[in-house]
Amino acid sequence: MSLSAPVRPLACIKQAIRQCRIELQQTRRYAVPATEAEYPSLQTRYPPPTPGFRPSQAIKQNRFETGLKKIPVVPPPRSTTKACPDPISILTNKQISVLDPTGARTRLFSPANPERVQPGDILVVRLRTGDPVSGTVLNIRQRHQPIDTAILLRNQLTRVGVEVWFKVYSPNVEGIEVVQRAVKRARRAKLYYMRQPRHDVGSVEGVVKQYLRQRSGGPLGSREANTGRKTGSKKGRK
């Protein structure tokens, strides 16, 4: 059934249709270039593109738009998310520049500072309104937002345990002073065990009073006498 075979005169319509079909199939056969027959490694997986739109071949070659009308695309405007990927830090820095212009508070709680506040230190916090509050630092809370850094101070006022949270950047907090650093580095970040009477530091009023007296230039005798005193409680050990 090839063209070279003699074509019989049309005996019936059926034969004519059969011949037409064969001719169509032969014209549709993909032409393979000579080079690929010589070099098998250059043989393409799929036949090269033929003129006209053939979806199956185009899609295999990642050409989805061949033969289709080109749709114009308007370029997008300037992207704010690319220009400013972290708007929250911009807001935080703007606030810190107002609330902490010298950067002292940031330094006090910065992990890069070796003299930062650590749990176990005794602090005194001066407020804009009211008496100064002092206590042992149980917890320094630094979560996702640096502007909300907070410290928990524990003290005993007339044998009653009192814990107070302070937002470090709050305008109410006029100043934070380290009265006494922890003798030994606490092996925990959160010293909640200090709520137990066995580990409770107790009242820090005495220490704070001495510190304030020393700062204002008072007698130093009592302070020096206490430096060598051994403390019986096991701080930092569970």
Binding site: L68, I71, V73, P77, C84, P87, I88, L91
Partner: protein, 306 residues
């Protein structure tokens, strides 16, 4: 049996057996257009008569006070933080939202669609990842391809900005109130205690395997020997659009597209939030052109503010 006609079969031409279809083919029905109906006068529609409650014009009149005068914007929820007031030392929790490539991508008109609305698009998308139909729609409007698209209903045609206008963060003024609409965080299949706030059963005292269960699902024979339709039960919770009204705008940064609102906004971080003037507060006293600039003029607008 039908009456037999006097004509013999051969009297008729054989063509009647195979009637030829004319060259102009019969028009097939491709669409069904509604036939224009004249409104019946049964229900008191007329020139001098008051507008009936159950009509579109009456619905528009009812909504007139509630529909905002100007469009809203789509924003991305970036997260929450706090703002301290240096004077009063008051801490205000706030949500930071960012507008990204917000543009007017379409209009809805009362004469064509039955209501007035602005279609806003935000973000962008790769052209090859968008169907040709969608791409053609954006090309027809003359706007870039957008990732998210939403409509903001407005009161009348005056609230429709020009097609392609860029909506910036200074659409909102510091101190004004906005409504925030977003899809809430999905909680999955939530139990009754989480979904409806039931209190559960005792933890001990002999309770066996029933600490958080529903308990009873209703009365018995007297209540129909069935569970009433709509009975609160465990099921999927969240992932629906929620509206938080009257959120105060605390800060606006046009350059970076930042809008900071008081309080919380539904949805997770990176979620899309629809912001519009609060309907329960007086409309902001600003011109309709504030915050909306023509496409291609953003650079000039930014330079003018600097």
């Amino acid at each position: 049996m039908p009456p037999r006609s006097g004509l013999t079969p051969f009297a008729l031409t054989p063509r009647f057996l195979c009637p030829s279809v004319p060259r102009t083919f019969a028009r097939t029905i491709r669409t069904i257009q509604p036939t224009p109906r004249t409104r019946t006068d049964r229900f008191n529609h007329g020139a001098g008569l008051p507008i009936l409650g159950a009509s579109k014009s009456a619905a528009f009149l009812r909504k007139e006070a509630m529909l905002p005068l100007r469009t809203g914007a789509l924003a991305i929820k970036k997260g929450m933080t706090a703002i301290y007031d240096p004077a009063t030392a008051k801490r205000t929790a706030c949500t930071v939202l960012q507008l990204d490539r917000c543009q007017v991508t379409g209009h809805k008109r009362r004469d064509a669609h039955g209501y007035w609305a602005v279609q806003i698009g935000c973000g962008t998308k790769e052209a090859r990842n968008v169907t040709r139909a969608e791409r053609g729609n954006y090309a027809a409007q003359g706007v870039p391809i957008k990732r998210h698209v939403a409509e903001f209903r407005v009161k009348d045609a005056a609230g429709l900005p020009e097609l392609g206008s860029i909506v910036t963060a200074d659409l909102f003024q510091e101190g004004q109130y906005v409504d925030a609409r977003a899809d809430s965080r999905g909680m999955g299949f939530a139990g009754g205690m989480k979904r409806w706030g039931w209190s559960g059963q005792p933890a001990s005292h002999g309770n066996s395997l029933s600490h958080r269960v529903m308990g009873s699902s209703g009365a018995s024979q007297g209540s129909g020997s069935r569970v009433h339709p709509g009975k609160r039960m465990a099921g999927r919770m969240g992932g629906e659009q929620q509206t938080v009204q009257c959120l105060k705008v605390l800060r606006v940064d046009k350059e970076n597209g930042i809008v900071v609102v008081h309080g919380a906004v539904p949805g997770p971080k990176k979620g899309i939030v629809k912001l519009q003037d609060a309907i329960k507060k007086p409309w902001p006293q600003v011109e309709l052109s504030v915050g909306v600039s023509k496409m291609g003029s953003t650079a000039e607008a930014l330079e003018s503010t600097i």
